[in-house]
């Protein structure tokens, strides 16, 4: 039954990807979904359809150039327009970008090198607190009790420095990764997981408690306000000149910041993908995978395992550091609450769901988890709260929705979601939704028509 379904789907997939069909499908799909979202900017199905269509560009068998053009049009033109109509969509896409970068960083450590890091979010925290400290007034408040900032305290650094601090975030997080890695990488696999968990908690607790003797982090209250990047003069006006006729009204500065941060997240995420792809296809990437597969054999082949594991830690951490800076600036607020163990597991869930070691998989995993988290759960929560306010009653058991507890809000059940995803994936599909495919190199193999063979095989394992 399932096998039959598989073959049916398989032949459908083949038909979709033959000749001009994928061009027609992808362009019509994108146009349709764009129009749908444009005219009903609050519709979740419309947005999901749009996201799916954008994701399909990757799968359609069309020329790389066409893919690139379609992707750029969607990312640079369509999304800002849709986002200006409903700013919430930009938030979703921003978070997808942020978490895709985080998940790709963790993927280098967990997926490529096979080291389970349960405290990954600590590097994200390092980046976030870096900008939170230097891009806020905190340095003038070192001797103040949390929450008692005197009026008129100036910011330490101007918003321009934000762009420099993305670089610094990369460096500082990478160094933190090295410092953590040096002692702990001698520890065996499952112990390493617990040690990194401990490290993550230590960082969070430090953020929580370093409000005395000197007030570095402002404790549990967190640091706010934090500088936003300075806008280059006239960019917003220029943007409005183009956008106003399409959207119908000019965007406010707040909205424009959303668009800007979407672009920054997109850029950083693209950079991260680029770096990951290139490292993966080099002797470094091969060595990482070799260590994952069999560390002793890798060492016997001349791979300095400790050095490469450190490199994996540093590279993975640097992605998180950069996104930490971006996150701190976009929220203008940073607190220890954002860097809990659950966040680390959330990122791990994205990697596991999408496909451990698989770059497109990990991006998909990040997108799915963010959308589930931000949209689907929220949407159901919203629906439930509407029911709660209504007088309706479940007929047979005679249960009034009014009596439904606030605590049953699905948006509060992320752990259940992450937990279920992890268990089910481990049992039924440990390689993830899009399993990692090895690169085909052999010249003869390139002549074989069905290039997707590798993916198929890996999936059947």
């Amino acid at each position: 039954m399932i096998a039959k379904l598989k073959t049916t789907l398989g032949s459908l997939g083949e038909w979709i990807n033959r000749g001009k069909v994928p061009y027609i499908l992808s362009i019509t799909g994108l146009v349709l979904s764009t129009v749908w979202v444009y005219f009903s900017p609050r519709s979740l199905p419309a947005f999901l359809f749009f996201l799916a269509m954008a994701g399909m560009i990757y799968y359609f068998k069309i020329k790389p150039v066409a893919k690139l053009i379609l992707g750029l049009v969607v990312a640079l033109i369509v999304v800002p327009i849709i986002g200006a109509r409903n700013i919430f969509y930009l938030e979703v896409l921003f978070q997808i970008g942020v978490f895709a970068a985080l998940a790709l960083g963790l993927n280098i450590v967990v997926g490529f090198t096979g080291l389970l890091n349960l405290g990954y979010v600590a590097f994200y925290a390092v980046g976030a607190y870096l900008w939170a400290f230097f891009g806020s007034k905190q340095i003038f408040l070192l001797h103040e009790i949390p929450g008692t900032a005197p009026q008129g305290t100036p910011f330490l650094l101007p918003g321009d420095m934000f762009y420099l601090f993305i670089m610094l975030g990369i460096i500082v997080a990478a160094v933190t990764g090295l410092l953590l890695g040096l002692p702990v990488l001698r520890v065996r696999g499952d112990y390493l997981a617990i040690v990194t968990l401990g490290f993550g908690e230590v960082i969070r607790q430090l953020a929580n408690n370093l409000d005395k003797p000197l007030n570095f982090t402002n404790g549990p209250q967190g640091i706010t306000p934090i500088q936003k990047p300075t806008l280059p003069g006239g960019v917003m006006d220029a943007f409005n000149v183009i956008l106003t006729p399409i959207v119908g009204q000019p965007v406010t500065e707040g909205q424009f910041y959303n668009i800007l941060f979407y672009f920054i997240a997109l850029l950083v995420a693209a950079l991260v993908i680029f770096v990951t792809l290139r490292l993966d296809d080099s002797k470094i990437g091969r060595a990482w995978t070799a260590i994952r597969e069999d560390e002793m054999a890798a060492v016997a082949m001349g791979i300095p395992a400790v050095k490469l594991k450190l490199a994996a830690f540093a590279v993975g951490a640097s992605f998180a550091g950069a996104m930490g800076v971006v996150m701190a600036a976009s929220r203008t607020f940073v607190s220890p609450e954002s860097f809990t163990f659950m966040q680390s597991i959330g990122v791990l869930t994205m990697v596991i769901l999408g496909g451990i070691g698989s770059i497109p998989g990990v991006v998909l995993g990040a997108a799915v988890v963010v959308v589930l988290n931000l949209q689907v759960l929220q949407e159901v929560s919203l629906y439930l709260s509407q029911l709660r306010q209504s007088d309706s009653v479940i007929p047979i058991i005679n249960f009034a929705w009014k009596n439904l507890s606030n605590q049953l809000d699905p948006a509060k059940y992320q752990r259940l979601l992450f937990g279920l995803i992890l268990i089910l994936m481990m049992i039924y599909r440990p390689a993830g939704l899009i399993p990692a495919a090895r690169r085909k190199r052999e010249l003869k193999a390139a002549a074989v028509p069905d290039a997707d063979n590798g993916t198929q095989e890996a999936a059947d394992e």
């Binding site: 096979g114 389970l116 349960l118 002692p183 702990v184 001698r186 520890v187 065996r188 696999g189 499952d190 112990y191 997981a193 617990i194 040690v195 968990l197 401990g198 490290f199 908690e201 230590v202 607790q205 430090l206 929580n208 408690n209 005395k212 003797p213 002793m296 163990f341 659950m342 597991i345 791990l348 596991i352 507890s405 606030n406 605590q407 049953l408 509060k412 059940y413 992320q414 752990r415 259940l416 992450f418 937990g419 279920l420 995803i421 992890l422 268990i423 481990m426 049992i427 440990p430």
Partner: protein
């Protein structure tokens, strides 16, 4: 006399009692002496002056007068950690697998125990009852917690771990993390759906909150009344009972022999006619039940529980297990006591010694630091044997 010692039954009952006595005394003594020396060293320091200014007591007297209470708290906490640590260490001993969800098994035990007591309270059974009945009810709650936690541990093993038994090492670990998260919210859901609240507070009943005065000692010129809460005595007594019982089960019974055989060599044990799946289930049942009992005791001691209550005790108990030498039951006991003491001492003295710069909130960091240091420098723990790398 000789015959008594030769009887396995008695030996296996007496030996752990002896070990417990030695560990508690030795750890307590070492920590006390170290702390007092540190206090002497701090005499005349800024911390000392601050203390004299605010509390009119010098740092040595402060340390000495607080010491008995700190020791009692440390031992109580230590036994709770030891009881949880046994669950980690048993499973690790048999499967070489960190049962990450053990902290939620602990929480389930706590919730079921507390719910039983709440139900009794609701039925009006807890007010003005004779003392002996209070103990019976508490025992009932503990047993209910043990049953629920043990059962859940078995269920989790059968559904989320068994299918992955031959998978690479990290696969079942990730599944266990998933179970841990799933159970946290599952508890939250079940508790919320009935009352709209997800935390619970253990009802007050019996004489558990009273204190018994042990002795009045003249310490540093002040007559100090050294007393202990009855519930601390209950926690210690129950934990000692469980430790001795488990030791007996593992070292002196046929089932225990089978567990040890499976831990040594699974395929061979299977060839010898041992039902490996059954023994592994049993290990989870026993470890889970101990965790569940620890959960109820924890609730009794700290009164308030929520679905995430297991995380920190779980991590600390795991630290205790590693500190003592994972897979080693005696090690879990020692590790638990050391960690309990450490936390109690840090909680009591850190703030005074650092002039408020770092207080009790750093006790978690301290536990993690210990974990990290032990794993890096002596992964086999205090009582474990160093084993060579396998080629």
């Amino acid at each position: 006399m000789r015959r008594i010692y030769e009887s396995t039954v008695l030996r296996e009952l007496l030996r752990p009692l002896g070990q417990i006595a030695i560990f508690v005394t030795a750890t307590g003594a070492i920590f006390s002496v170290a702390m007092l020396l540190l206090a002497l060293l701090f005499r005349g320091s800024a911390a000392d002056r601050l203390l004299q200014e605010n509390n009119h007591i010098n740092i040595f007297a402060f340390t000495l007068t607080n010491l008995p209470q700190v020791l009692v708290d440390g031992v109580t906490l230590g036994f709770v950690y030891a009881a949880i640590a046994l669950g980690y260490t048993m499973v690790y001993g048999v499967l070489e697998f960190i049962n990450f969800a053990h902290s939620e098994i602990f929480a389930i035990g706590a919730f079921v125990g507390v719910e039983v007591l709440i139900a009794l309270e609701g039925a009006g059974q807890l007010s003005s009852i004779p003392i002996w009945l209070a103990y019976v009810f508490l025992a009932l709650a503990v047993i209910a917690g043990m049953a629920a936690a043990g059962g859940m541990a078995m269920l989790v093993e059968a559904t989320a771990y068994r299918p992955l038994r031959n998978a690479p090492r990290l696969v079942p670990l990730i599944s266990a993390i998933g179970v841990s998260f799933f159970l946290q919210d599952a508890i939250r859901f079940t508790e919320s759906i009935t009352t709209g609240q997800f935390h619970r507070i253990i009802p007050t009943f019996g004489n558990f909150d009273q204190r018994v005065s042990l002795v009045k000692l003249p310490l540093a010129g002040v007559v100090t009344d050294i007393n202990i809460q009855i519930k601390s005595i209950v926690v210690i007594a129950a934990a000692v009972l469980m430790l001795v019982g488990l030791n007996y089960l593992v070292n002196a019974t046929k089932v225990g022999k089978a567990i040890r055989a499976v831990a040594q060599d699974r395929p061979t044990a299977s060839l010898m006619g041992i039902n490996v799946n059954l023994i592994i289930s049993l290990t989870f049942l026993v470890g889970g039940a101990l965790g569940g009992a620890a959960g109820v005791l924890y609730a009794l001691k700290f009164t308030r529980i929520d679905p995430f209550v297991g995380f920190f005790p779980g991590i600390k108990a795991f630290t205790a297990a590693v500190l003592g030498g994972i897979g080693n039951l005696t090690g879990a006991l020692l590790g638990g006591i050391v960690l309990g003491m450490l936390e109690s001492f840090a909680g009591a003295y850190l703030s005074a010694f650092t002039m408020g710069a770092a207080g009790a909130e750093y006790k978690d960091i301290l536990a993690f630091a210990i974990l990290i240091l032990v794993l890096i420098f002596r992964p086999s723990g205090l009582l474990g044997e160093q084993v060579g790398q396998k080629a």
